[in-house]
């Protein structure tokens, strides 16, 4: 009954727009309430059908996805809108959408494909309102089922949601429940097996910063068929190696190349003495003669274009380019494996549930135990560098006997961010800064893209705003990518920072750390519901030498500061030597999911760091 009470509160708060003058009395915000969300799936040996009915009350525009109707269709599947209506809270009909009101759009995410979406957006809602939708979808193949995730947004309450799956025929259903308060009910009537899940009165999750999505308690049911069937390609599907074998079936005989390219490859390989330099040279050959271009039609969404296609056209998607690279290495006598991965920063598959959970392909090179991973869609990426797009996660490797393994995790020693600078302070407070920074591996972040894809003018624009210095003006800079085994971006800059030091009367105030400061991130949240996620191992090392103007003496200095915990260490200090001040700072962070029992310590640590990360030296004129 909590829900009704909440509803009542929100009805008055949001409906009576003119009477509520203050936000002071509201406690827990709710963006939307899912009144009803029923999904029915029927599965047979050829494919499956889904019927969805959803009724949701929106209180504001934060649950943006709920205001869009997106029905996908292609050569292999279709969808149909049955109903879409918007009502106000008094149940008065505001708008009714017919199937013909939906706009059919071609695919924008690929260069070309058979995917289409029937789309409608309620861009013009007045809140609160109720959206009721009903649609059907049918797929003429068996490969995956969409996972059942009745709620994926924060501040959304679920009153009643259900999933019912009926299975007819030989193909079975596999499933895995996550965070479900109640387990499945199974019935068997007339050889039709029916699975039913229910989710009732699920309270909204509150949004918190620094979270790991996979450790959030959103309820879901992972689903997968026990057989694969797409056009003529079929197989059983119980284990990861079953999926791998099916992929091997799709990839069979796609590794042929024309004679000319074969000769070229052999010629390159012959020039190099060992496997590693052969690989590097062939990787560069691939990077210099191809580009990423995504063309997806039917089975082409899962099956790579042959290597000869890439050689002839000079383009391909992740599947085609990985298969091409595999073929190049094969010609040179180097073993490699086509590898499926779920790409994206901090993403991972549910590795204990074999299902088609991947969206990208890379290459795994065993390299006599020193495994290398090749990303083949970025023509500028250093050899064997993955970045946060595919690092540290479970992947399916298409060896003769396919297996699951883990990609490279970048260590603290590899992810270093080292800045050295000299800052010459002028008497008027202006400063001349010469800065040299090396950002290794995952610490390259946006500078990697800035280096690779932008012109000097754009780089200047970005770097100027990237510098937290209040008035900095970059006089000259250089940005380079060093493609070592552990690659890094080197940036050197000479900066004219007006009013770097502020002055009051006879005193000059010199901030020691004006570069990248530790945010005051947990200041206002006294309690924590979900683990704190530190997304990478890294070490930040700053060393800055200040030259102070003549005729001044140091009046005040900050105290040295050091703090260490199981998840991070910090140390900052300075030395003064005549007219030089050397400031050094070191911050090390572990990649970790820190459970809530540690929260008070996390909060104490980062809050005190944030306050201590702005040290200042005060100079006084003699």
């Amino acid at each position: 009954m909590i829900n009704n009470k909440l509803l009542a509160i929100y009805a008055t708060v949001f409906f009576a727009f003119c009477f509520n003058n203050s936000y002071a009395d509201i406690t827990e915000p709710v963006n939307a309430v899912i009144e009803n969300y029923d999904t029915k799936i029927s599965i047979d040996d050829k494919g499956y059908k889904i019927h969805v009915y959803k009724k949701i009350v929106l209180y504001n525009d934060n649950a943006i996805d709920e205001t869009r109707i997106q029905l996908y269709h292609s050569r292999m599947d279709e969808s149909k809108l049955i109903k879409a209506e918007v009502r106000d809270l008094s149940d008065k009909l505001i708008r009714k959408i017919k199937s013909s009101d939906l706009n059919d759009y071609g695919d924008f995410s690929n260069f070309s494909s058979d995917a289409h979406v029937k789309f409608y957006e309620f861009s013009d809602l007045t809140f609160p309102c109720t959206i009721e939708t009903e649609y059907e979808y049918s797929a003429h193949y068996l490969l995956y089922f969409p996972f059942w995730e009745p709620v994926t947004d924060f501040n959304v309450l679920v009153k009643d949601a259900s999933l019912q799956i009926s299975v007819e025929g030989k193909t079975g259903l596999r499933y895995k429940e996550l965070n479900m308060p109640k387990t499945v009910e199974v019935n068997l009537v007339n050889n039709i097996k029916t699975y039913t899940w229910k989710l009732v009165d699920f309270k909204p999750l509150k949004e918190e910063k620094y979270i790991d999505e996979m450790s959030l308690p959103f309820p879901k049911v992972l689903l997968a068929p026990s057989a694969l069937n797409y056009n003529s390609y079929s197989g059983k599907f119980e284990t990861w190696s079953d999926l791998g074998n099916w992929i091997l079936l799709l990839n069979a005989q796609r590794d042929n190349l024309d004679e000319q390219t074969t000769l070229k490859v052999k010629e390159i390989a012959a020039k190099h003495p060992d496997d590693l330099s052969k690989m590097k040279a062939l990787y560069e050959f691939m990077q210099n003669s191809t580009r990423y271009l995504s063309i997806q039609y039917g089975i082409g969404g899962f099956q790579p274009f042959p290597a000869s296609y890439v050689a002839e056209k000079g383009y391909g998607d992740c599947k085609a380019l990985s298969n091409y690279m595999y073929t190049l290495l094969k010609i040179a006598g180097i073993k490699s494996y086509y590898t499926l991965v779920l790409a994206g920063k901090n993403k991972n598959i549910y590795s204990d549930f074999p299902a088609s959970q991947f969206n990208h392909v890379i290459l795994c090179v065993p390299n006599n135990g020193d495994t290398l991973w090749l990303e083949n869609t970025d023509q500028k990426i250093p050899f064997a560098y993955l970045g946060d797009f595919t690092d540290d996660r479970d992947v399916l490797v298409m060896a003769d006997k396919p297996f699951l393994t883990h990609t490279k995790k970048y260590t603290k020693q590899e992810n270093r961010d080292i800045t050295t600078a000299t800052i010459l302070i002028h008497e008027n407070g202006d400063a001349t800064i010469n800065l040299l920074a090396k950002k290794y591996a995952l610490c390259m972040r946006e500078l990697y893209f800035l280096h690779n894809y932008y012109t000097q003018k754009e780089q200047m624009m970005y770097l100027s705003s990237y510098m937290p210095l209040k008035n900095s003006q970059i006089d000259s800079f250089s940005l380079s990518l060093i493609k070592d085994r552990n690659p890094y971006i080197a940036i050197s800059c000479s900066i004219n920072a007006e009013k770097y030091a502020s002055r009051t009367g006879s005193r000059l105030f010199i901030p020691l750390n004006q570069l990248e400061k530790i945010p005051y991130m947990f200041s206002s949240d006294t309690i924590r519901k979900y683990p704190v996620f530190q997304s990478k191992d890294c070490e930040i090392i700053d060393s800055i030498k200040f030259y102070i103007p003549e005729g001044y003496t140091v009046e005040s200095t900050p105290s040295m500061f050091k703090d260490s915990t199981g998840f991070s260490n910090y140390q900052a200090g300075w030395t003064i030597n005549q007219n030089e001040i050397i400031y050094s700072r070191n911050l090390a962070i572990n990649k970790a999911i820190l459970d809530t029992t540690q929260y008070q310590e996390i909060r104490r640590y980062y809050n005190s760091l944030a306050l201590r990360d702005n040290p200042m030296v005060v100079l006084k004129r003699n």
């Binding site: 003119c18 009477f19 505001i94 260069f111 002055r503 105030f509 206002s524 005040s556 306050l611």
Partner: protein, 664 residues
């Protein structure tokens, strides 16, 4: 002068002719093949070597019964050649062209040639894109995208395409852009128009285009007759890339481009048939339009309930009645977020539904005010997102309608759409270019960029400093006019407000309590935030028992938004604004002021910006600071930029100055 001008035309013609062969598909020069980078900027990843478009008209014959009828079809050819220097622009090899292909395929792509030219080891290789490698994908309705995936493209490749589209829709010409995201060495658009047609043209954008070259051509109508055609050729050379800068409004206002519009048609032995309009005609059409001007005069019986209620308020002054009407309409009508110059299904239907586009809502407001005996007019506007009012008088120049009321000699502009705004403020979208008063009489424009009220923010801090340097006290933030409206738009629910106060704490390294935000829904009143706060000392006690305090405890600007030396385009703040700080600090027991920042005052030429900083210490051990930063106009041209940058520089300097306090 005259002779020089003539000579330059001849020179241009000669040059143009010389270039013809250069544009021939496949005939690339050695210079182009061997080009290593763009001379003006070696970091550029690709340049357009040329982009040559031409529009001409061809005669097409059609048998209808026993008669042969002639009509013109428009032929649009585009030749584009791009040199790729660096992989950063490999995406140029994925060319896309949006085409409107009529339902019956009225338009035809009659030529689609594309190839890659590679030059390696002194050998030139041409790799053709085969017809079956092209995609013509439907985007939606009759809009298609021709996609050309060039093959074997690498650093050093030249890609080239030659596309012709024929169309019977001969009155519409594509807008030709001379500028894009990569530099263009040569761009040319030539338009050859048969003598029967008259077109008007508009050149706009920030970069200069060469003077046009004109000549007369002949088109064969049939075996006996020729028709004269007027050809005009527009060129631009070495056009730099367009890079968007912060604080810039609609980019289309600045891109160099040329537009054509058909103005009249006169076939032999026929009268001239004017097709385009002047503003007076446009205005007349707007005035006569069913769902626009007609609504100004037609009955409003359907709003009787609202009218009666307003009419009954006889104790109100005229101004109060106008206000009451404005807010009554705002309360009654939901805005569906669609800007429109005209009502969709008529105001009656919108009123019944209680929902409508901007024209529906503002026409309802206008009708009510009219019936209540106000002197009203409708104004056609082009919103900020829509860009400036088009050069050509056209019904499509506008996308929004607002209301003007003249009361006791004063003019009020009203827009009842956006809930976050009070009556006297036009939403920022409306503050663009000029508006046309819809009338069948004279042409009267209203400038929408002058006399814009400011966004006003006031930070008042009353605090005391403790022995160890911790500062605590009370903060009041007051936001008025655009500052309040922007805040209301941005933080319109509890979730957003929550994020806002957290960010306030994080940005200022401060802990807030007793948080209260008042008047979020009373749009006529300022938004008042009040907090109590604690801010830990961040600087150590000095060796000589000193305390150093920055008095700007909350809300101070942290970096200069203008750090670049130069700027290409104007800075648009949307509206003037000012920020005021009134700070009272009391010192800890046993301490006294040692040094204070200097008082200061700066201003920009014409007082377009002003900064005052005044700090005093009183005997009672308190410090008062009064600081005001104001920008008094919305638009700064690029030559005013260096001053604006320096002005911000000074402001940031003052914001960071410290107070020095000493133990007695």
């Amino acid at each position: 002068m005259y002779r020089i001008f003539l000579f330059s035309i001849i020179l241009f013609v000669l040059q143009a002719n010389a270039k013809e062969t250069k544009f021939k598909y496949g005939s690339v020069s050695k210079e182009e093949l061997e080009m290593k980078n763009y001379s003006s900027d070696s970091s550029v990843g690709a340049v357009v070597l040329f982009d040559v478009g031409s529009i001409s008209y061809e005669v097409s014959e059609r048998m209808s019964g026993h008669y042969v009828s002639y009509s013109f079809k428009q032929v649009f050819n585009r030749k584009l050649r791009i040199k790729i220097f660096d992989k950063k622009n490999l995406d140029m090899a994925n060319q896309k062209m949006v085409l409107y292909l009529g339902a019956q395929s009225d338009n035809f792509i009659t030529k689609k040639k594309a190839h890659t030219i590679n030059f390696e080891n002194n050998k030139q290789a041409e790799i053709e894109v085969n017809k079956d490698e092209l995609f013509l994908d439907r985007i939606f309705d009759n809009y298609y995208m021709l996609k050309i995936p060039f093959k074997n493209v690498k650093e050093g490749s030249i890609i080239e395409m030659d596309i012709t589209i024929e169309s019977p829709l001969n009155y519409k010409l594509p807008t030709w852009y001379f500028q894009r995201e990569i530099p263009t060495l040569f761009s040319q658009f030539s338009v050859s128009i048969p003598e029967f047609y008259k077109f008007r043209k508009n050149i706009s954008g920030y970069l200069a285009i060469n003077p046009p070259v004109s000549e007369i051509e002949d088109i064969t109508l049939n075996s006996q007759e020729n028709v004269q055609s007027n050809k005009t050729t527009w060129t631009a050379e070495k056009v730099p890339a367009f890079i968007r800068e912060p604080y810039l409004d609609c980019a289309d206002n600045y891109l160099s481009k040329i537009e054509y519009e058909l103005s009249s048609v006169q076939f032999p032995l026929q009268l001239e048939q004017p097709l385009s309009m002047n503003w007076k005609e446009v205005n007349k059409m707007l005035y006569d339009a069913e769902y626009l001007g007609k609504q100004i005069t037609t009955s409003s019986g359907f709003m009787k309930d609202m009218y009666d209620e307003l009419k009954s308020k006889d104790n109100l002054s005229k101004l109060e009645l106008m206000k009451a009407t404005y807010y009554a309409v705002k309360k009654k009508m939901r805005f569906n977020q669609v800007y429109s110059l005209a009502s969709l299904d008529g105001t009656k239907e919108a009123y019944r539904k209680g929902e409508g586009n901007s024209a529906d809502i503002n026409l309802i407001l206008l009708k009510l005010l009219r019936d209540l005996n106000f002197n009203v007019a409708a104004i056609a506007v082009s919103t900020k997102t829509n860009g400036n009012v088009s050069y050509f008088p056209s019904l499509f120049a506008f996308n929004q309608l607002i209301v003007q009321v003249t009361l006791e000699g004063k003019k009020y502009l009203l827009d009842a759409t956006e809930k976050a705004y009070p009556m006297h403020l036009l939403p920022e979208e409306d503050l663009n270019d000029r508006g046309l008063i819809i009338s069948d009489q004279n042409i009267e424009w209203v400038d929408l960029r002058t006399n814009i009220p400011s966004g006003i923010t006031l930070h008042a801090v009353d605090a005391k400093i403790a022995n160890e340097g911790t500062i605590s006290g009370k903060i009041t933030i007051q936001r008025k006019e655009y500052a309040a409206a922007n805040f209301r738009e941005k933080y319109n629910d509890k979730v957003d407000i929550d994020k806002y106060t957290k960010k306030l704490e994080e940005d200022n390294l401060i802990q807030l309590q007793d948080k209260s935000i008042q008047n979020m829904d009373s749009v006529e009143k300022p938004i008042i935030e009040t907090y109590t706060f604690v801010k830990q000392n961040q600087t150590e006690l000095g060796a000589s028992n000193m305390l150093y305090v920055n008095p700007f405890i909350i809300g101070k600007l942290s970096v200069n938004p203008f750090k670049l030396n130069e700027r290409d385009y104007p800075v648009n703040f949307n509206h003037p604004f000012d920020e005021t700080y009134i700070i009272n600090l009391s010192l800890p027991e046993g301490y006294a002021v040692s040094e204070l920042p200097a008082n200061a005052s700066f201003s920009l030429p014409d007082n377009s910006g002003k900064l005052t900083y005044k700090i005093t210490a009183s005997a009672g051990n308190t410090i008062q600071l009064n600081c005001k930063f104001s920008i008094t106009k919305a638009l700064f041209s690029f030559d005013e930029y260096p001053n604006l940058k320096e002005f911000y520089n000074q402001y940031l300097g003052k914001l960071n100055e410290m107070i020095v306090i000493k133990k007695i």
